[in-house]
Symmetry: C2
Subunit: 193 residues, 2 copies
DNA sequence: CGCGACGTTGATTTGCCTCAACGATTGTGG
DNA sequence: CCACAATCGTTGAGGCAAATCAACGTCGCG
């Protein structure tokens, strides 16, 4: 059951009664995305939190020269969103699309507010989820300041051993903040020790 | 009153009754730091959240070559901590010290847990605080990938118009992830249009 | 006063980018 | 099922942003 995946994810952080589980799943919207399909487009106001059941999403922005910069990937069992737009209600500058065929659950913001009221434990859930995000972001900021491109690539492979085999190299380069050509050279160098 | 500064900060996000305010302030520990004094040293387990009443803290790591990288500044009305160590209970890799004479409130982790129990609204408070952190981190990650050093410096001045005049240039360079020499050159260039 | 921390400036080096060309693979329409 | 296009990864030449190294002037402070 798809609902079990998301319930497991939630219950990893907070305990729910059967009644709460039942209530929670009523707020979920299931959606399938084809490879390449856009979930949130540029300038759109982000009104949902997304949970990936299977597949992989990417969350990226486009700079003034038209270059893409991937902020995060979201594979199975991950949450994603454009939190800035979601919080402020202003148009977002991030795009979310599917790198492969993907299944997700969506929760609308107004439903999320209801959930906070009806099951206050979810405040805690999100606090914990966000704490975790901050730790990851911190690690990323740190490595972008102190590590070379090669070191960052090695760290990426360690952190996402599944993702890096399944998606095009250019996306990894975009996530690492380097050019695809240069990543190719790094890879070649690593292969020859 | 110093307590008013922190209560204002909290009430900016959640409403508290007088009883709750009274209870909350009993958990606060006041502390004064001299310029250069270390609040959290390398390898220490971070057991507190820190709130700056006046002055300025910096939160930084040291890489394998001995170079410092500033993760964040915390000036008046800001919270800081080593969230990774705080959450996991493992030794931290960040150092927090005072850039100028500084006054803070500290809240111990075990007291924070009590506060969550006694005033559940604080779960919400921290969720909101952390959401905000994520938005800031996201902005920083994005700009480190798509903006030049000069652009980042300009953005820094805009974002922290007070801080940048009061602390040594080398700290700003460290925050921006560039060398002090290069920042000096950027500054010079800007001064001549 | 003299020392250490800081900011500046110039010369040189380097990590990574851009551009361009080329095979290999994948996808698509006829 | 083939032909062609599009996408992708690789490789090399040349360029640029920023680092490193070194020397020097200034200032605050013990």
């Amino acid at each position: 059951m798809k609902e079990e995946v998301i319930l497991n994810n939630v219950e990893h952080r907070i305990k729910l009664t059967d009644a709460e589980k039942k209530l929670f799943v009523t707020y979920l919207t299931y959606k399938q995305l084809k490879k390449g399909e856009v979930l949130l487009s540029y300038g759109e106001i982000c009104k949902h939190q997304y949970f990936v059941i299977s597949g992989c999403l990417r969350n990226y922005s486009i700079d003034e020269y038209g270059k893409e910069h991937i902020l995060m990937f979201a594979a199975t069992d991950w949450w994603t969103s454009d939190l800035y737009s979601y919080i402020t209600g202003e148009p977002g500058e991030y795009i979310i699309d599917a790198l492969v065929d993907t299944e997700i659950f969506m929760i609308a913001k107004e439903d999320m507010e209801k959930i906070y009221e009806e099951i206050p434990k979810f405040e805690r859930f999100h606090r914990l989820l966000f704490q975790n995000s901050i730790v990851n972001n911190t690690r990323r900021i740190r490595s972008s300041m102190s590590a070379s491109a090669e070191e960052r690539y090695q760290a990426f492979i360690k952190q996402f051993p599944n993702i890096y085999k399944e998606i095009p190299l250019k996306h990894i380069a975009s996530y690492l903040g380097i050019s695809p050509e240069f990543l190719s050279k790094i890879r070649n160098k690593i292969a020859h020790y």
